[in-house]
Amino acid sequence: MDTILFIIFAVIAIVCGLSLVLQKHPISSALSLIGVMGSLAVLYWLLGAEFLAAAQLIVYAGAVMVLFVFVIMLLNAGSEKASRKSWFAQIAGLPLIMAFVAVMSFLIVAYLPPSRLVEFGNFAQGTARQIGVALFTEYLLPFEMTSVLILIAIVGAVVLARKEID
């Protein structure tokens, strides 16, 4: 059951990812990105990280992407025109990508330590309580740094917006 669900949602994620790059219209691309995020959330859930899955949906699909879609709709952005590809990209594009993938997979296989296969639902540290405890004990410094960073971003946004109004 878990494997079937994994295959279904992995395929959806990949198809949405491809469509994100290939679609001409910005709204279609944005919605494909939401598809990728939604299926990633399901994959997290299958592994047992349910809090992460919900956070993924709430923060990325629900908040960040709504803003993206909102701005695209507000600017009423039209379809992109396909640019004329340069001769270099036309000739060397595909071979270079294949070479890059080959090098990366070689590096991963050769240098990363062998890891055990992932089992569905076996990840036991995914509840809200455990994540909260980990954030406030083990990862306290990164957590506080991130919140300060977000605060700086908010202040920056307010300053920029104020300049625009005056």
């Binding site: 709204i27 919900a54 949906l57 709430i58 879609v69 909102f70 709709m73």
Partner: protein, 396 residues
């Protein structure tokens, strides 16, 4: 195997009841609104217009399904689908009663008990805005587009106070699962005051409840926050170009969202299926209400004011008596009594929604935004802070 069969049965029951509720909620809304406005409301289809939902469904099914030119066909068709799917999804985590056993099978009165139930509902509602925004954009109509834009801005803004208001009772109850939340609200302080989170110490969540309700009005696009479909400015807002069943999908989504929001409010603040006063006495409340209804029907049947009253009203009375008798059947009453309390709380909140619609005028758009960011958000934040401090200091 047994798990799948039981789940399918539960899904069938919940979906059947939920869909019927949605259909009749619209009838109730029209009736209540017309009585507020000193009219009688729908009366032609069936006794007191009771068959009106059926007639409306038939009308919507047989209407011509227009496909306007120049629309973005794929997204135009996708939008009502998203709206209806997402709003039916969140009912899956709502518990209607405690754990019960029927014919030796123990099960919960709930489709599934997630231990992050609240987050699931928040995730679904935060994604739900796409149905409206996309519908408005894909229609290729300036009114629809304005409606879609307004609704996305409004729903992002009101999601914040709503989420902050939800977090405060979570601090009190110390769980994210709806079932444990309701269990944590059982019992009575001083012997009579129910320990629902609106009454529970150290900081009763009465302000949180009000903030949640106001934000819920905005999240479901109801008056006084129905700017996305303000008919005197935007024709019909985001669903201007939709007709037939696609329009019905948006229409149903609004009522489904309303019901879900009321269910969540009941679970978080009003103690779910926990009765208003302690158990042996409170078990007789539904029976007494039904007996009263039966007595009233018999009395008016004996003194008929209209032509058929001496036949129809006694039938109503007998039905009420049978319903009252059902509450004494041993297996059924463990299901019916919690369900009665849950349904009556949700019904009261739904009535408040309709009542407000009949009472308040619509906000202006800048007022709506100023209210969310300038008043509701700081209030929710202050409520959360006080709750946090008091819970932390009282647990020491």
């Amino acid at each position: 195997m047994a798990f799948i069969v039981i789940s399918l049965i539960k899904i069938a029951i919940v979906m059947g009841v939920f869909m019927t509720t949605l259909a009749y909620l619209q009838w109730i809304e029209r009736k209540v609104l017309s009585h507020i406005q000193l009219r009688v409301g729908p009366r032609r289809a069936g006794p007191h217009g009771l068959l009106q939902p059926l007639a409306d469904t038939l009308k919507l099914l047989t209407k011509e399904d227009l496909m306007p030119s120049h629309v973005n066909r794929f997204f135009y068709l996708l939008a009502p689908g998203i709206a209806i799917t997402l709003c039916l999804l969140s009912i899956a985590v709502v518990p209607f009663g405690p754990e019960i056993s029927i014919f030796g099978v123990r099960t919960q009165m709930q489709i599934t008990d997630l231990n992050i139930g609240v987050l699931f509902v928040l995730a679904i509602t935060s994604v739900g805005v796409y149905g409206i925004a996309l519908g408005g954009w894909a229609s290729n109509n300036k009114y629809a587009l304005l409606g879609g834009l307004r609704s996305s801005a409004q729903m992002i803004s009101y999601e914040l106070p709503m989420a902050l208001a939800i977090v405060a009772p979570l601090l009190l109850l110390n769980t994210l699962s709806f079932r444990e939340m309701v269990n944590g609200q059982g019992g009575y302080s001083l012997g009579f005051l129910p320990r629902w989170s609106v009454f529970q110490g150290p900081w009763p969540q009465i302000f949180g409840f009000i903030i949640y309700l106001i934000a819920a009005f905005a999240e479901t696009n109801r008056i006084p926050f129905d700017l996305p479909e303000a008919e005197n400015e935007l024709v019909a807002g985001y669903h201007t170009e939709y007709s037939s069943m696609k329009f019905a999908a948006f229409f149903m989504a609004e009522y489904a969202n309303m019901t879900t929001v009321c269910c969540i409010a009941t679970l978080l603040y009003l103690g779910g299926w926990q009765p208003l006063f302690p158990a042996p006495a409170s078990n007789f409340v539904p029976v007494i209400i039904l007996l009263g209804a039966a007595a009233l029907a018999f009395y008016h049947g004996l003194h008929p004011a209209r032509k058929w009253d001496n036949i129809t009203l006694p039938v109503v009375g007998v039905v009420a008596l049978i319903a009252a008798a059902l509450f004494f059947v041993p297996v059924l009453n463990t299901i019916l009594i919690p369900a009665f309390w849950f349904v009556s709380k949700v019904g009261f909140l739904l009535f408040v929604f309709i009542w407000v619609r009949g009472t308040l005028p619509r906000f202006r758009y800048d007022q709506l935004m100023r209210f969310a960011w300038g008043f509701l958000f700081p209030c929710a934040l202050a409520n959360l802070l006080i709750t946090g401090f008091l819970v932390a200091s009282s647990s020491r």
